[in-house]
């Protein structure tokens, strides 16, 4: 991170969806705005800008974070994944995205990016947990619900989202 002389701006660099990016941001800039405005990645959604709804969830070093509460300068040197980064070879959806669609878990879709990222972080958590374990375990229904508590959805009643997450995480952790 380099401070730009005579300004309150910083040049930061981080790994964004597997690609190294450099961007100049204000000290007060929020990661969500930098992603959406400066880097044109509008898949990450602004739902409340106060860390309550989870629509803006991204992965920072593999863990789910509300990007609306995260200062962009803190992203310097880290690895960030957004919803756009889950699509392999720019055409193949992540199994989480496909499972949500096939299970009818997407309605208006405004919460979906955040939901997908939260489920991805739970998957990452269990994959790393299972690496050192003798027998593989998957999260329980209760754990999934608890994990997704920070992602609000007004359309689906969560039922299909939880079903999809359970189906996926039983197979892929």
């Amino acid at each position: 991170m380099v401070k730009i002389k005579g300004t309150n701006k910083y040049k930061i660099s981080f790994l964004l969806n597997q690609t190294k990016v450099e961007v100049i941001v204000k000290a007060s800039a929020i990661l969500l705005d930098v992603l959406r405005e400066d880097l044109n990645l509008t898949g990450t959604k602004p739902g409340c800008n106060e860390g309550e709804c989870g629509a803006c969830t991204v992965l920072i070093n593999g863990a789910a974070v509300n990007s609306c509460l995260y200062l962009a300068v803190n992203a310097d040197g880290k690895e960030i994944t957004t919803i756009e980064g889950l699509v392999n070879n720019e055409s193949e959806l992540d199994p989480i995205q496909n499972t949500l669609i096939e299970n009818g878990a997407v309605q208006c879709g405004f919460c979906t990016s955040g939901m997908v990222m939260s489920i991805k972080s739970l998957q990452n958590y269990y994959i790393s947990k299972n690496k050192s374990a003798k027998t593989k375990i998957a999260p329980t229904n209760q754990e999934i619900k608890k994990w997704l508590e920070g992602n609000l959805c007004r359309c689906t009643g969560y039922v299909k989202i939880i079903e999809a997450a359970e189906k996926l995480l039983t197979e892929k952790v």
Binding site: K45, Q97, S113, G157
Partner: protein, 770 residues
């Protein structure tokens, strides 16, 4: 239309047609639109819910670098908005509720726009507001909305609806039991995950205005916008980007929308306004809060005799479509369960609260709560079982209700029987006197329009369908997608009828310059009305296709099947590719397009001046039995099981239907136990998700859904509207269950832990004192 027993696509769990684009983050919502040279708009709202504006000073704000335009009421030549035209877009002399718009800024960045708002100085003369509708009705109270046309005796009445059937006095004399209660319903909000937004682009040379708007009713909106801005409606093009939740919140046009257009007209540049979450809470329309006075009776056999209802609705400072919710409310009282006589009066009263709008269910959750609580009380008084009294009075097929609704199909009794059986409702539950957790079960039904609602001059929808020379189909539908899945249902219908695979079907439905007229997405009407409209267009198209196929196949037959991209003559065992037929239509004489348009108007009628008439093409019924467990230490209500049976006519897509049921029920549970906008002197105290309690993934009960298929002849493949129904009886069934668990009574919602604990402790105290 394909024969019901041979359906290949309809009735199958087809995933959302546009699911991939939404789940991959590629969908463009209003929040994602970026136009060249676009400015950012922001709105200054009042600090006081009731005040006179003495001076607005924008001089400092105008000097701020990056500010391109500031408007106040004196800078604009516009008409009032709202269906009663009682709502100025920007307020000049007085403000009447917390959300009132005083000035608007367009600036180069969002930050500058917000900074400019802080530099605008407004001098107010603060007045004492009126926040209680009964106080507003007091003849000594001042007139709240100065634009109220004064159609009614009282200056603060916005709208009155009166209805009656049967002879109330006669029915009273036949009654063995009479119950009278007052119920109070709270103000709740839609809380769409995507906040309100608009982008406006005015072109000074052509004089045309392009709006990217998340309205649910683009054609009415185009007309309303034109009236507000004194423009020609056809010079306004409305494009709907992907919408982040509707639920009725986008049925009206609101001041921020013409404000955005005006900023674009003044600057000649595109302008975008996006609400913050706080703004969404305090400046969106709400569900109507209301006070329902109801008395009703039953005879010794438990037959319902009469219902006498007086409702005071808190209209807020202005009138939106929400003031017309009594259309639906009176249906529940007049026609849900058989009832010999009904008197109904609903009055919408101006106050200095924010104005109420329309919200999924359109008054019906409030009405159903009051009615279904009363039915439990009647059953208790008669010492009858709560299931028996409902079954005895259930609506039936062929019934014409006192209000003139024709139930050509009716699954009410089957819905009731299903949830009663599945929930084991009648098992004797001995209530334990001791113990912290107490279980209870409650039952409620609902009636809602299931085939549109003829409230405007037309309840119709237009569709154009075309097939291209490659065998792909484009459906241009007047109706639009707001997340509910209508695109998927339309694609399924086209696939079913034309034998074209789903991935070859494209839905165009977002542009008023292209699509045919439709009244809008509301009243659970889209699958029914837009579905029938598409079927009509396909029938017309098939006449053309059949003619060409007959010629090309040299058939004697006039009847063809459409399967796997082919047109098939089954009797002569001949077939031809659909794309080839289309090419021949285009390229050989008489050279015509494979295209057809159709306008579908439901068979429903306008109601007369007394609100009598068959207002919908079909009626939907549902029953829910809900089991709860109440923690008597904390007052927390835990919803365990929801058994729901709904007369959907015919299941078009079980996957999407489940989604409507689950989502609706969860909104209903929120209405029952956790959601409430808390106001103090007209100022919202909880404008955030932290203190306005939406339910989360951890709060979901077990939902057991049983679709009831009654195959309504009017509906596409027999289907009825489903969208609003699932949330309508939920709060009523939960309240009945909590009353059952604690043997107490509740007269208001939501059943927060505080209210539950208070009711329980009061009862204990009473027993103790006794």
């Amino acid at each position: 239309m394909g024969e019901l027993n041979k359906l290949k696509v309809i009735g199958t769990p087809v995933p959302k047609h546009d699911g991939k684009i939404r789940a991959s983050g590629k969908a463009v919502y209003g929040h994602d639109i970026k136009l060249k040279d676009m400015l950012y708009g922001a709105i200054l709202r009042t600090e006081h819910p009731c005040a006179t504006i003495e001076k607005i000073d924008i001089s400092k704000a105008l000097k701020l670098k990056g500010v391109e335009c500031i408007i106040t009421a004196k800078d604009i030549d516009v008409n009032n908005i709202g269906y009663k035209r009682d709502h100025p877009i920007l307020k000049s002399n007085e403000v009447n509720c917390e959300r009132d718009e005083i000035a608007a800024v367009a600036a180069q960045t969002k930050e500058i726009a917000i900074k400019a708002l802080q530099l605008i100085k407004v001098k107010y003369k603060v007045k004492k507001g009126i926040f209680d509708p009964f106080e507003a009705l007091d003849l000594n109270s001042p007139k709240i909305n100065s634009f109220n046309s004064g159609k009614f005796d009282n200056k603060n009445i916005a709208e009155v609806f009166k209805y009656s059937h049967g002879n109330i006095e006669e029915e009273k004399s036949k009654s063995k039991v009479h119950i009278k209660r007052r119920f109070t319903l709270p103000r709740v909000t839609h809380a769409c995950l995507g906040t309100s937004n608009i982008s406006a682009q005015y072109d000074k040379i052509s004089g045309k205005l392009l709006l990217y708007s998340s309205t649910q009713v683009p054609f009415l909106y185009q007309r309303d916008m034109a009236h507000a801005l004194k423009m020609n409606p056809s010079d306004i093009r409305v494009i709907q980007p992907v919408i982040g939740g509707g639920f009725g919140s986008k049925l009206d046009m609101y001041p921020f929308e013409p404000i955005c257009a005006l900023l674009s007209i003044k600057t000649g540049k595109p302008v975008q306004i996006i609400y913050s979450r706080k703004e969404e809470f305090l400046a969106s329309p709400t569900r109507q809060p209301m006070i329902i006075d109801i008395s009703c009776g039953a005879d010794k056999n438990g037959s319902f005799t009469y219902r006498d209802i007086k409702i005071i609705k808190d209209n807020g400072a202005y009138t939106s479509w929400g003031a017309t919710t009594p259309f639906v409310i009176m249906q529940a009282f007049s026609s849900l369960y058989k009832v010999a006589a009904c008197n109904f009066e609903a009055t919408a009263v101006y106050t200095n609260n924010v104005f109420a709008g329309s919200f999924r269910g359109y008054g019906n959750p409030q009405a159903t709560f009051a009615l279904e609580r009363m039915i439990d009380l009647l059953a208790d008084e008669l010492k009858m079982s709560k299931s028996e009294i409902r079954l005895k009075n259930a609506n039936f097929k062929g019934e014409i209700t006192g209000q003139g609704l024709h139930y050509d199909t009716c699954g009410h009794k089957e819905c009731l029987e299903t949830v009663i059986n599945k929930s084991n409702f009648n098992k004797s539950t001995k209530k334990s006197k001791e113990g912290r957790y107490k279980k209870g079960i409650g039952l409620a039904s609902m009636l809602h329009v299931g085939g549109g609602a003829k409230i405007y001059r037309s309840d119709g929808c237009g569709t154009t369908v075309k097939i291209d020379p490659y065998g792909y189909c484009t459906v241009i539908s007047g109706s639009n997608e707001i997340g509910q899945g209508s695109e998927t249902v339309l694609a399924m219908i086209a696939s079913e009828e034309l034998g074209i695979s789903l991935e070859k079907i494209k839905i165009i439905n977002t542009d008023t310059d292209i699509k045919p007229w439709d009244v809008g997405v509301h009243a659970s009407r889209t699958s029914f009305v837009a579905g029938n409209s598409l079927l009509g267009a396909i029938n017309l198209l098939k006449i053309k296709l059949n003619k060409k196929a007959k010629e090309l196949l040299d058939s004697k037959n006039d009847d063809f099947n459409y399967e796997n991209g082919c047109i098939i003559d089954n009797t002569e065992d001949k077939s031809i590719n659909l794309d080839k037929v289309v090419r021949e239509m285009h390229f050989s004489e008489p050279n015509e397009l494979a295209i057809a348009s159709y306008f579908y108007e439901p068979s429903s009628q306008f109601q007369d001046k007394e609100f009598k008439g068959n207002v919908s093409g079909s009626y939907a019924f549902a029953s829910q039995a809900i089991e709860v467990e109440v923690d008597t230490y904390t007052g927390n209500v835990n919803i365990l099981n929801v058994y729901v049976a709904q007369d959907v006519g015919k299941v078009l897509n079980p996957l999407l239907l489940d989604g409507q049921i689950h989502g609706g029920i969860l909104q209903g549970i929120g209405y029952a136990v956790s959601e409430e906008m808390i106001y103090k002197n007209g100022i919202l105290q909880n404008p955030n998700f932290h203190n306005y309690k939406l339910l989360t993934a951890s709060d979901i009960p077990q939902i057991h859904f049983f679709p009831i298929e009654t195959n309504d002849k009017q509906g596409p493949y027999g289907a009825k509207g489903v969208g609003e129904a699932p949330l309508i009886p939920t709060a009523a069934a939960i309240a009945n269950a909590v009353c059952d668990a604690l043997e107490v009574e509740f007269l208001e919602l939501p059943l927060t832990p505080e209210r539950v604990l208070k009711a329980f402790n009061n009862k204990k105290k009473l027993i103790h004192e006794f």
